[in-house]
Amino acid sequence: MSDDLSIQPLTIADRSFGSRLLVGTGKFSSNETMRDALAASGTELVTVALKRADLSGGGDPFANILDYLDADRYLIMPNTAGAMNAEEAVRIARLAQAAGLPNWVKLEIHPDPNYLLPDPIETLEAARILVEEGFVVLPYINADPVLAQRLQDVGVATVMPLGSPIGSNRGLDTRAQIEIIIEQARVPVVVDAGLGQPSQAAEAMEMGADAVLVNTAIAVAADPCRMARAFSAAVRAGRCARELGQSPVSRTAQATSPLTAFLD
C-alpha cells in the first residue's frame, strides 16, 4: 500500500525521516495504548512531556512513560510543556539532556493553561539560548510569519505553527498565515496542534507543510491504532499530491475539449 503513496523523506537538521507524521504522547488511556498507536502511525519522531517522566534514573514505576517509547524505533524528542517562561524551558531542556535524552527539544512555552497558546517573546528568547547551546530546537508557535522568520534567524531546526489551539480539532483556522510561513520558510514547517481529522492533516500537507504533529485526535479516538493509521495515510496522500503538483482551483468549468482547438 505504501508503494502507491511513496513520498520523499523529511529532513530536519541533517536527519532523515521516512514518515512526515510526528506524534505526541499525552492523553492516551494507557501507556500500552500509546505504544501501539505510535507503532501503527508509522511515525519516527515522537515528543514526550518531561514533567510526566522520571528523570532520577531510579526507574520510577509510577512515572514510566519513557519505558514505553522504543528509542531504536523513534527519535524521542522531549518537550518543555509546563514551562511558563524561557528560563524554565531552558532548564527543562538541559535536564532532559543531562538525563540522557536526545538534544532535540520541542520548545513549547504556554503560560496560559487554558488554550495552551505559545508565548512568542519567551519562545524566541529560549530558542536563542538553546540553539547557542547546541540543541536542535523545534519551536511551537502561533502562526505568526514574522516570529517564524525571527526564529529561523536564531537557528531553529523547524518552525511549528499551530493550525488551531491544542485539542480543539478545529483544523487549519490559521491557514492564511501558515501559507505565508511556508512560502517564506528556510526550514521545514510542521503544522502542530488542532488537527482533529485526517482530512485536515492531508490539507496541511497539500498546502505545502513539510510535516504535521498530531496527538489528541489519535489519543482520544475510540480506536487510537486505527485513527493513527488513518492519519498516516492522510499525511502520505496529502504529501504525495503536493509532490505531484495540484491542479489549480477554478470557479468555472474547464472544457475538456478546448474552445480554441480549431486554431491548432
Binding site: K27, K51, R52, D54, A83, Y115, N169
Partner: protein, 390 residues
C-alpha cells in the same frame, strides 16, 4: 481589573437562581445544541430541574469536552494533614475550635515519613492541609515541610488559612505549585452564621485569597464551595462566577474547582440543603460546559460507586486512600493501605476507602489512565530531580 470582592455583591445571584428554577425547554435546547455555556445565565439553565431531565445528553457533552482537553486521564493526588489545630469556629468542621478532639501539629520529620509512605503508594502529588493556627502552623514550619518533602514528592500544593501575598511568596519560592482555598459558602449571611469566631469570619478576606495567591505566583489555584450549607444552585452560580473571574484575571494560573458535599452522618453537622447524586453529577457536567479547561476535583468524601461513574464524565483530579487526620497515614497498614485504628482526630470521614492501587485499577477499568506524575517542581526551579522511586 477590579477585585472580585468589588463586583461580587453586584452579581445577580438570586435572580439567576430563580431563573434556573424556571428554566424552560425552549431556553435549554439551544445551549445543549451549542454544547457550551457561554454565560452565567446559560450555566444557570444547565443546573436547572429542566436540565436534570437531560442528564444523559449533558454527560455526553461534558465527556467530549473533557476528553478534548485532558484526554482519557485522571490525575491522582493525596491530602497530607499536617495539623488539626485551629483558631476558627466553623460549625460544620471537625477541626473547629469548639470540637473536643486531640489536637496535634505533626513534626516535620513525620511529614516527610508520611510523604514517603504516600510516594510508596504511587503518589507524586500531595496537598498539605492544616487548620488555621498562626503559632503552630507558622509560615516557617510550612516552608520547612515543603523543602523537606519536595525531594520525594515532585508536586506540592497547600490548603492553609489565608495569608498575605508577601507571606505566600516564600512558600512559592520553597517549591509549592498550588494553593487551595474554599470559600465554603458564597452566601454572606450563611457564611456569617457558620463562622462566628476567628479570622475566618472575614468573608472578603477569604474571597480575595485566590487573587493574592496569583500575585504570589502559584501555578495552580483551587477554589470550591462546601455544598450543603446553603442552596446548591446559588452556591454553584457564585462559584462559577468566581471561576470565570479568576480565569480572566489570573490568566497564567490553572483554576481547579472542587465541590465537597456535606453528607448526613450521625453525630456530625447535618447538611441543611440536600443535593442528590443526580444533581451532583449535573452540576459537574454543567461546570464543564461553562469552563472547558478547568480542573475539576473529586475527593474521597464521595462513594466508590459515584466516583467510578464520574471518572468518565468531567472530573480530572481525584484523591485516593485519604486520611483526614494529622499523622493518620502513620497508622495505615503499608501493604493494603487500610486504617489500623480509629482516626479520632479526623476532619471528616471518607466514603471511599479503597487503597490508591485499588482505585488506580478502577480508573483503568473505566478505560482511563491514572496519572500519578504530571508536574515536577525540580524541572522549573533549582534542585535535583525528585528521588521518588520504589
Amino acid at each position: 481589573m477590579s477585585r472580585f470582592t468589588e463586583i461580587f455583591d453586584r452579581l445577580p445571584l438570586e435572580a439567576l437562581r430563580r431563573q434556573s428554577l424556571d428554566t424552560s425547554e425552549r431556553t435549554l435546547l439551544p445551549i445543549l445544541q451549542r454544547g457550551r455555556a457561554a454565560t452565567l445565565a446559560d450555566f444557570a439553565a444547565l443546573i436547572s430541574p429542566a436540565a436534570g431531565t437531560q442528564l444523559e445528553e449533558l454527560s455526553r457533552l461534558s465527556q467530549n469536552l473533557t476528553r478534548k482537553h485532558f484526554g482519557k486521564t485522571i490525575r491522582l493526588f493525596a491530602p497530607l494533614y499536617l495539623s488539626n489545630e485551629c483558631v476558627n469556629i466553623c460549625k460544620y468542621c471537625g477541626f473547629s475550635r469548639h470540637v473536643d478532639i486531640p489536637r496535634i501539629t505533626i513534626p516535620v520529620d513525620q511529614a516527610v515519613r508520611e510523604s514517603r509512605a504516600l510516594a510508596d503508594q504511587g503518589f507524586r502529588s500531595i496537598l498539605l492541609v492544616a487548620g488555621e493556627h498562626p503559632k503552630s502552623v507558622s509560615n516557617g514550619y510550612v516552608e520547612e515541610v515543603v523543602r523537606r518533602v519536595l525531594p520525594v514528592m515532585p508536586s506540592v500544593a497547600l490548603e492553609l488559612g489565608p495569608l498575605r501575598t508577601h507571606e505566600y511568596a516564600p512558600l512559592v519560592n520553597a517549591g509549592c505549585e498550588g494553593l487551595v482555598v474554599y470559600q465554603e459558602t458564597y452566601h454572606r449571611e450563611t457564611y456569617k452564621e457558620m463562622h462566628p469566631a476567628g479570622p475566618k469570619s472575614n468573608f472578603n478576606w477569604r474571597l480575595e485569597t485566590p487573587e493574592r495567591a496569583y500575585e504570589a505566583r502559584f501555578r495552580r489555584i483551587g477554589i470550591g464551595a462546601l455544598l450543603g450549607l446553603y442552596d446548591w444552585r446559588w452556591e454553584l452560580i457564585a462559584l462559577a462566577a468566581h471561576a470565570q473571574y479568576l480565569t480572566r484575571r489570573c490568566w497564567r494560573t490553572q483554576i481547579t474547582l472542587s465541590l465537597p458535599r456535606l453528607r448526613p452522618a450521625p453525630g456530625e453537622f447535618q447538611p441543611r440543603h440536600a443535593m442528590s447524586d443526580r444533581e451532583f453529577v449535573q452540576a459537574i457536567c454543567a461546570l464543564r460546559l461553562l469552563l472547558p479547561h478547568a480542573g475539576l476535583v473529586l475527593s474521597t468524601r464521595e462513594s466508590p460507586h459515584l466516583r467510578n461513574g464520574l471518572i468518565r464524565l468531567g472530573i480530572t483530579n481525584m484523591s485516593a486512600g485519604s486520611s483526614t487526620e494529622p499523622g493518620g497515614y502513620s497508622s495505615y497498614d503499608q501493604n493494603d493501605w487500610k486504617q489500623t485504628r480509629e482516626q479520632e482526630g479526623e476532619q471528616f470521614h471518607i466514603s471511599d476507602e479503597r487503597s490508591p492501587r485499588e482505585f488506580a485499577e478502577a480508573i483503568r477499568t473505566q478505560g482511563y489512565e491514572p496519572v500519578w506524575k504530571d508536574f515536577d517542581q525540580s524541572l522549573v526551579s533549582s534542585g535535583t530531580p525528585s528521588e521518588t522511586h520504589l
